[in-house]
Symmetry: none
Subunit: 416 residues, 2 copies
């Protein structure tokens, strides 16, 4: 069963509002084993509503619309659906009574305009609305089942759960369960990773595997299907194992886990702590760490040593070192890492010093040049990154922060 | 000119990811006077890509796609567009050279898979990508202009601004101009602000004024229209003046400006600097400040003193003070502000100490209890915030950070 979701509202296509209903419906349908292939958004225009619903009924077995069921003149879904089905609108007595009762319960008088909400295409069924005025619509149009739901997210969700799900189950949906698993990697390029996984990402393979990248973190998304959730998860398992085997140390976690989560886990496992000295990342690493509840266990704190004087005064970087090599140098990165480790009595100290741009670059030290430092009780080390020069400041800061945390994580794992 | 936006990616139609690109593009096109009538999302399936792009070219004068330009097997936009146009793909030498140069600049070897990113439909033009590998595509297909952009939001936005906007202007877009002006306030509740602006936000008023709130920053959005940008801006002007008159000191700026931008402006104006001592905000203030290019002029740095020991060792907070009052207290907030001001030789020191939750709260000191400190050459002061206990950690951190910066900004303005 292929589904399409049609979201109606001029505020959506104009960009004044963000459509989140379609995402919610996709997930809800996915968990019933129904695969959504299309999302369409249209404004409050009758001809365009008719055309879009016609296209949807043409290419999908199930069409779910949200929005356009209110009492105002720009609520056109009822009319558009009737036009696509080639029928007229008739007043639905039970729905009218339900709308009147709803107003009575709230001690408000019902406006005449609200009567239109009880108009339904001939041959359709009303979907009762337990938390608003407008009923939804359930109708067969050609090969397609169409469900029209309100646009208010809360009403839409309740109506979907109460009214649409049972009808989809009657149609035999929910026999199949679709599950997703997302495995996240950091530290190598997308093309490189895919070159090592062409067999897994091949088109038509079951389970399906996709690759996406976000802020240099690469995600494998595996989609499994089965009669039960357990069966769907079992279908995924060997593929997940293959990914873990091939990319082991690159993997930072699953779902929403990223480098920072992996770092905190490794710190807890090793029973140690980390302190951070940040120049060009300006507190971003500390912020990411302290976003996570309980991070105080492994994070005593950090210093944002933006000025050279702060590097000298607070971190104890020798002024001569900065004079000789510049603040953006492996020598200063190492001294910063050592300094912050000592001052915070931490197991590991890491540091970032670089040029995030857009200003401050030179021929010798261009925007995007970053040095990372890492200090432990046994050793101190530094590493060079070239993240620019064409990247915006924010991208350079976020990548530098991730690479620094990734280095510490790999060091804790004994990989580097 | 009617436009359609086509977002490509299985993660969108499956509901695993939320499509925000289409909203951004709708707004950007709207500001050029181009009206978006349709949004379509499709998965990584060639036949469905071809069909959807064909429908879009049929009903819209301008089609903008995002996504599907990467190097992997599920990146199908190039192929789909060529199929719709009835042409083959050819290697574009300049684009291949640009991709190779990008890898060279980063000292990384180019994977063979990346070559496919230089394949473009015959008869199309490449849109150079100044911050990623994949070039975009610009092409006439029947009556429509088609622009294919990357799916990574940052690359998409830069390519739209740099490459698509000038081409749309060449086509005469921007005939009737719609402009938005967004005036941002901080420091008072939304209902309070709205009660003072009922005449401005009345329905049907021209220009239209809306109020939105995001992370406790309240925005007035004024929408003006005119034959020229100047005319549209002139329509807005008296309304903007009325807002400035009524809300003067609350206003932090326009557009994307927030408290941090206002703070940096006030620091520059006063020719002074600020240092920050952060406990529960964990580096967020420093991160927000250093996100802004040029902030090093007014920001020598800060300390994330997450542990008590760090407050004592790095900031010089007396251990007895913490023992007597606890780390979350006005006394410690003041000592932190003084300590960080001195250590960084700054004009102003500010501090945040509190309980961000979800753990760590008590009857006497619940989650959301936060003390701010501010120290100048003349005085030191503290302030209590109650931001919880029902709010999530991230909200408490962000509000505390904003209130701290707002206090410093108002102090610099001489308001408090």
């Amino acid at each position: 069963m292929i589904a399409e979701i049609v979201a109606v509202g001029s505020e959506l296509v104009s960009g004044q509002a963000l459509d989140t209903n379609s995402q919610w419906l996709s997930r809800a349908l996915g968990s019933l084993g129904i695969s959504v292939h299309y999302h369409t958004s249209i404004g409050d225009d009758l001809a365009e509503n008719i055309a879009a619903i016609r296209i949807a009924c043409d290419r999908a077995d199930l069409v779910i619309t949200s929005g356009g069921l209110g009492p105002t003149q720009d609520d056109l879904t009822r009319e558009a659906l009737a036009a696509v089905a080639g029928v007229s609108l008739v007043e639905h007595a039970d729905s009218l009574a339900a709308i009147a009762a709803m107003f009575a319960r709230r001690n408000r008088s019902m406006a005449d305009r609200n009567r239109v909400q009880a108009l339904l295409p001939t041959g359709s069924a009303a979907l009762p609305n337990s938390c608003g005025t407008a009923p939804g619509i359930w109708m067969n149009v050609g090969r397609s089942r169409v469900a029209c739901l309100p646009g208010v997210p809360n009403e839409m969700k309740v109506m979907f759960d109460e009214q649409v799900v049972p009808r989809l189950r009657d149609l035999g949906a929910g026999g199949r369960v679709i599950v997703h698993r997302k495995i996240n990697l950091f530290g190598r390029g997308e093309a490189d990773v895919e070159a090592q996984a062409l067999d897994l990402t091949a088109r038509g393979r079951r389970p399906e595997v996709g690759i996406t990248v976000s802020e240099a973190t690469i995600a494998f998304r595996i989609i499994g299907e089965g009669a039960t959730e357990a069966e769907a998860l079992a279908q995924i398992e060997p593929t997940a194992e293959a990914i873990y085997e091939r990319f082991g140390p690159l993997i930072v976690g699953e779902g929403t886990d990223d480098v920072v989560h992996s770092l905190l886990r490794e710190l807890a496992k090793a029973g140690t702590t980390i302190a951070v000295a940040e120049s060009c990342t300006g507190g971003l690493i500390a912020h990411w760490i302290t976003e996570i509840p309980g991070s105080s266990e492994t994070f005593p704190g950090g210093v944002v040593s933006y000025s050279n004087q702060a590097k000298i005064d607070i971190l104890g970087v020798p002024a001569e070192l900065i004079a000789a090599h510049g603040a953006v140098s492996p020598e200063v990165a190492e001294a910063m890492a050592q300094g912050v480790r000592e001052r915070f009595h931490a197991g590991i100290g890491i540091s970032v010093t670089g040029i995030a741009g857009p200003g401050g670059g030179s021929q010798a030290k261009p925007v995007g040049l970053v040095y990372l430092g890492i200090a432990t009780a046994e050793s101190v080390d530094s590493r060079k990154l070239e993240l620019g020069p064409e990247q915006p400041r924010g991208v350079i800061q976020r990548r530098a922060a991730k690479y620094a945390m990734n280095w510490a994580r790999l060091r804790l794992q004994g990989v580097v």
